[in-house]
Subunit: 218 residues, 2 copies
């Protein structure tokens, strides 16, 4: 089976899951932590080299304060949880904004090895596609057009091209997820909500991906 | 029914269709013309305000010469065909390259009204996501970061945000299609190949779209 090098994860549906379970919406995020760790372990087992989690976005910060606090906390907990694994962990997002969790700043400065290192794990926190691409407008990047190294000039330049994006929660859209790294990505949607994660979702996505004809637009 | 303002069309599968029909691959493109006109008329009828066709890309120009000639010709024919309709037609792509069809240059300079005008039709010809975004690196765009008008600085700045992308031919990926305008797009995939277009594909896509919860990432 052909295995993707880099998988993007859009763990959507936490609020809908909470509502269905009779809880208030913001309670759903905590139930996304266990699936996140389970998926990480499956990726490691299958020899995936890089994995990028969509934590929260600058767009998400327009939500009610109680939800913002809840998804910020879930992201902090998730990063701390992953830092106890063997991984090269990096948090990427606008960390100059006051909404960026203080506890995650040590993870943004450069890629850090945890445990024995190995699989690269990127976690998007207060990420915005606009913020990411705006870096191309900065004056120090002028006249680099000829170098064709556009990807290296993004704020998210440490994140490589994504082969497979898996989105939970049934929605068929990228919602601003890394527009440049996603230009050629195959996009697999799981109808179940993220807190209802099952290993079969991952196996099915890999099986589907291995049958795709990879052309990189050619 | 909630109708999208702007639909992106990825008319994929011409070569696979030709192969299935026992023809050589490049013969398939011609069979994509009639569906293109049919779809245009349906969009107009439903009150869609803007439609963008994915003609060919800079990535596609790595293919065998006989295929390149065939898809170039199909794009020229399609644009000429659409110019006989009531529409505001614009061809967007790298027209400084020798691969850009000479006959289409008059359509690139600015939006032109054909017939009585009306629906905006964008046709991507020799388009590349890299070419599009590279415009952000140009020196005259320096230090505009604060203005937050990123979309206006793209080569494709005349194309607005896309609500719904419909891709024929079963593949679930964007293949470099307008990465910025597509950040929030809902993505509908038709398994049939483009030359097998049926109005029902369009109706089903609209029906599906009208049930989506539009959040623009919020």
């Amino acid at each position: 089976m052909r295995i993707p090098n880099h998988i993007g994860i859009i763990p959507d549906g936490n609020r809908r899951w909470a509502k269905k379970a009779g809880m208030s919406k913001e309670k759903g995020y905590d139930y996304g932590l266990k699936p996140g760790l389970e998926l990480f372990k499956l990726c490691r087992e299958f020899g995936i080299k890089e994995i990028t989690y969509y934590g929260f976005t600058t767009d998400n910060t327009k939500r009610p304060a109680v939800q913002i606090e809840a998804f910020k906390k879930a992201c902090v907990d998730a990063v701390k949880m992953l830092s106890r694994e063997d991984a090269e962990l990096l948090v990427i997002g606008n960390h100059e904004s006051p909404i960026f969790p203080e506890e995650l700043k040590p993870y943004t400065i450069r890629r850090r090895k945890f445990g024995n290192g190995g699989i690269k794990v990127n976690f998007l926190v207060n990420y915005g596609w606009h913020w990411d691409l705006n870096n191309l407008l900065k004056s120090e990047n002028n006249d680099r057009v000829s170098k064709k190294n556009l990807m290296n000039l993004l704020c998210s330049c440490d994140i490589s091209r994504i082969d497979l994006i898996i989105r939970w929660g049934g929605r068929r859209r990228l919602s601003g997820f890394l527009p440049v790294q996603s230009v050629y990505s195959d996009f697999y949607v799981v109808d179940d909500l993220w807190p209802d994660f099952k290993p079969n979702h991952f196996y099915d996505a890999l099986k589907w991906y291995s049958k795709q004809d990879i052309t990189l637009g050619g």
